[in-house]
């Protein structure tokens, strides 16, 4: 019933914009990754030198490790926690709209402001340590030792992100027929059983979707590192994209930075394709 011209008609404007501002810049960046571009000097073709350098670079390996570590800290929490929150605020309770608004609130704040807020909270003399001191825990710098810095940043990300994913789930929950719950309740199913047996299967496509989006978010995160830790201490919070940023804008190694980002790109592409396979297997068509 649809003809190809319909498809291309709809796609034309989006594709032109994508071409101009996404495809062409990406190809340009790919081309740059084979050069020693540093903005000022005339560029030279260097072949795969940047890629070879990346695999020999200990900082790059550490950054890749940190990226995966950060992903593992952040994504499972951001996939699971918001389901629970969405179910909570999807109930017919007094004031539930207000709660939705409050939970979404952190998402609205720019990362720069968030970074300022949490730097106060996490400081050695900060408020979090103040509360921990009641439990006999000696104050320590959350962001200044190599062990706690990533979990601390993950906490910030989760704090900022759970409301965002709550919205996705909230939209998905509207697709769950209410009578299914009523039937389950008549059968005496409790809160957990009700949701695990009814809600989760129905919102499964959304769970996959959130997994994809939050994975990509986690792999691309760097503003937080830039504003809160500068990748430190001892590169413990240097993620791949932070390294890209640093190489490009601090060390003026645009070519090398592009090479790193394409290695990262290959990695995420693989992960996303796997995810996509899983998504498409769903009876959602």
């Amino acid at each position: 019933m649809y003809k190809a011209r319909h498809a291309w008609g709809f796609l034309s404007i989006p594709l032109i914009l994508l071409l101009l501002f996404t495809f062409i810049p990406s190809i340009a960046a790919l081309a740059l990754s084979f050069t020693n571009y540093n903005i000022f000097r005339p560029l030279e073709f260097v072949g795969f030198a940047n890629y070879i350098e990346a695999f020999q670079d200990a900082t790059f390996r550490k950054a890749m490790f940190n990226t995966v570590y950060y992903w593992l800290l952040v994504t499972p929490a951001l996939v699971v926690l918001p389901i629970f929150v969405a179910i909570l605020v999807n109930q017919k309770l007094k004031g539930v709209k207000l709660f939705r608004l409050i939970f979404y609130f952190p998402t609205l704040v720019s990362v720069v402001v968030t970074a300022i807020l949490f730097s106060w909270l996490f400081a050695e003399q900060g408020i979090i340590n103040y509360f921990l001191s009641f439990f006999g825990i000696d104050p320590f710098g959350w962001l200044t030792n190599t062990v706690t810095v990533m979990p601390a940043l993950a906490i910030v990300t989760i704090w900022q992100g759970f409301g965002y994913y709550m919205l996705f789930y909230l939209a998905a929950l509207q697709g769950v027929p209410k009578d299914l719950y009523e039937a389950a309740e008549l059968d005496g199913a409790g809160f957990w059983r009700k949701h695990i047996s009814i809600t989760i299967p129905i919102i499964k496509p959304m769970i996959f979707f959130v997994a994809v989006i939050s994975t990509m978010g986690a792999f691309k995160e760097f503003t937080l590192m830039l504003t809160m830790t500068k990748g430190g201490p001892l590169d413990a919070s240097t993620t791949a994209v932070y390294l890209v940023f640093k190489e490009a804008f601090t060390n003026l190694e645009m070519g090398y930075a592009s090479a790193i980002s394409f290695i990262l790109f290959a990695l995420i592409l693989i992960i996303t394709l796997i995810n996509q396979k899983l998504l498409d297997q769903n009876p959602n068509k």
Partner: protein, 444 residues
């Protein structure tokens, strides 16, 4: 109901769509205008550029980029602009202020299309980085006539590979703001004069008051030159900091850290010293006096009781001065006018006026000898008194930033090595040796 809503949405979209078209058209139109204007001016400046040598009349449009000075100093900057334009009727100056953290990205991005601002306020590290890449005008040549008005130690600030690429603008040396109440509690009646004394007092202060004394600040690499240890060799081709003295210095810092004399988050920029000082968690703060006011912003009563003293001295007895710089883009289309403007901004009169406004120091001999900077000697106000001490030390101060384009990388290597000593208990001598090797391979 449903249909009605849909229509409304349609209408909305239609309106928005047409607005977009108009906006696009308008801005497109403006741009073409701007373009033709530009090209006209370029032509003019070119044609008049040839006349320049003959008549000495400058022309063109120059963009002057400053860092985080607007809106506080708008009036001053507009005054400078107006004065310059009055002197050179053919020149228009456009002011643009950018946030400190984004300067480098903006300059680099605009450089990629050849649109770098003509005259730029840049920090020292960045001047060296892009100067070495040929992006900035050689000031040794372009500003040879005004070179002698600057302090020699400061003129070199914008230098890399033997060429100076920027004029020093406003500068500061340190003063010391201190909290006499905390010192008294710890049994001291005067602030420390040297780093050695400072560390000795720190232990007592911590014990008696729970506050810190001396701390390791984010610019800790400067503790090398302050204590007579060079960061790089004379021609900036190899590291020079791997010495027994340096190892000893770091070993003592490690010891102080283990005693809890200072936290690491200050060096890692997690907490600002202004905040710690304002909370009376640290007994003194050695920094440019223009920043003392931050204490007043955070906790006026702490500022009220604070006093100022001369800056702490290391073994070398020298102070570090870190000027902001004014550089001119090599790619500028109105280079002559831009250079003239850079000189104008950094001349004695304008420097003096800005120094008075912002509590900073002019790196120009004539300006800093103004009686204004003598006034603070007896002042009760920490900022004014601090400015007096800072001005006193300016003549002998040098910029200690190593003159290599890899200056940020070198600093980072030193910081990392130090963090390994503190966090991973690496022996200072080993950490320094590793850092030396890394720096050497970088500089080759």
């Amino acid at each position: 109901m449903e249909k009605f809503k849909m229509n409304k949405i349609f209408l909305l979209l239609l309106i928005l769509g047409s607005i977009l078209v108009i906006v696009t058209a308008c801005s497109g139109a403006e741009d073409t205008n701007a373009d033709t204007d530009n090209s006209k001016e370029t032509n003019e400046s070119e044609s008049e550029g040839t006349n320049e040598e003959a008549s000495g009349e400058l022309s063109g449009e120059i963009e002057f980029m400053t860092i985080s000075l607007s809106p506080t100093f708008d009036e001053y900057l507009n005054g400078v602009k107006a004065a310059f334009e009055a002197e050179h009727p053919g020149v228009t100056v456009e002011l643009r202020d950018v946030p400190f953290d984004q300067v480098e990205q903006i300059v680099l991005t605009s450089a990629s299309s050849g649109n770098m601002p003509d005259v730029m306020n840049l920090n020292t590290e960045f001047v060296k980085k892009i100067g070495a890449n040929g992006a900035l005008v050689n000031m040794d040549e372009a500003a040879a006539d005004v070179k002698d008005t600057f302090y020699e130690g400061l003129w070199e600030t914008g230098g890399v590979n033997g060429t100076v690429y920027a004029l020093p603008w406003y500068t500061t040396t340190s003063g010391l703001i201190y909290n006499p109440e905390l010192l008294e509690k710890a049994g001291f009646d005067a602030p420390p004069a040297t780093y050695e004394e400072a560390w000795e007092m720190s232990a007592t202060i911590l014990e008696k008051t729970g506050a810190y004394g001396e701390v390791i600040a984010p610019d800790m690499q400067l503790l090398f030159p302050k204590n007579g240890i060079d960061i790089l060799n004379e021609d900036y081709t190899a590291a020079a900091f791997n010495t027994p003295e340096a190892a000893e210095l770091w070993a003592s810092f490690k010891e102080y850290y283990d005693q809890g004399l200072y936290p690491l988050d200050i060096m890692l920029n997690q907490v600002s010293l202004a905040e710690l000082y304002a909370q009376e968690k640290v007994a003194w703060w050695g920094t440019g006096p223009q920043l003392f006011r931050q204490v007043n912003d955070i906790a006026p009563e702490v500022y009220e009781k604070s006093l100022a003293g001369p800056p702490l001295e290391g073994e070398a007895g020298k102070q570090h001065a870190n000027p902001m710089n004014i550089a001119v883009a090599e790619s500028s289309e109105s280079k002559e006018a831009a250079i003239e403007f850079a000189k104008f901004v950094t001349n004695a009169d304008n420097q003096l006026e800005f120094g008075k406004l912002a509590s900073v120091l002019p790196p120009v001999e004539e300006a800093v000898n103004d009686p204004f900077f003598e006034e603070g000697a007896e002042s009760e106000d920490a900022t004014i008194r601090g400015r007096y001490y800072a001005a006193q030390s300016l003549a002998a101060a040098v910029n200690m930033t190593p003159a290599t384009e890899h200056v940020s990388a070198v600093n980072e290597i030193i910081h990392t090595a130090f963090q390994r000593v503190i966090l991973e208990d690496v022996d200072p001598a080993d950490a320094l040796a590793d850092a030396e090797a890394e720096v050497n391979s970088l500089l080759q």
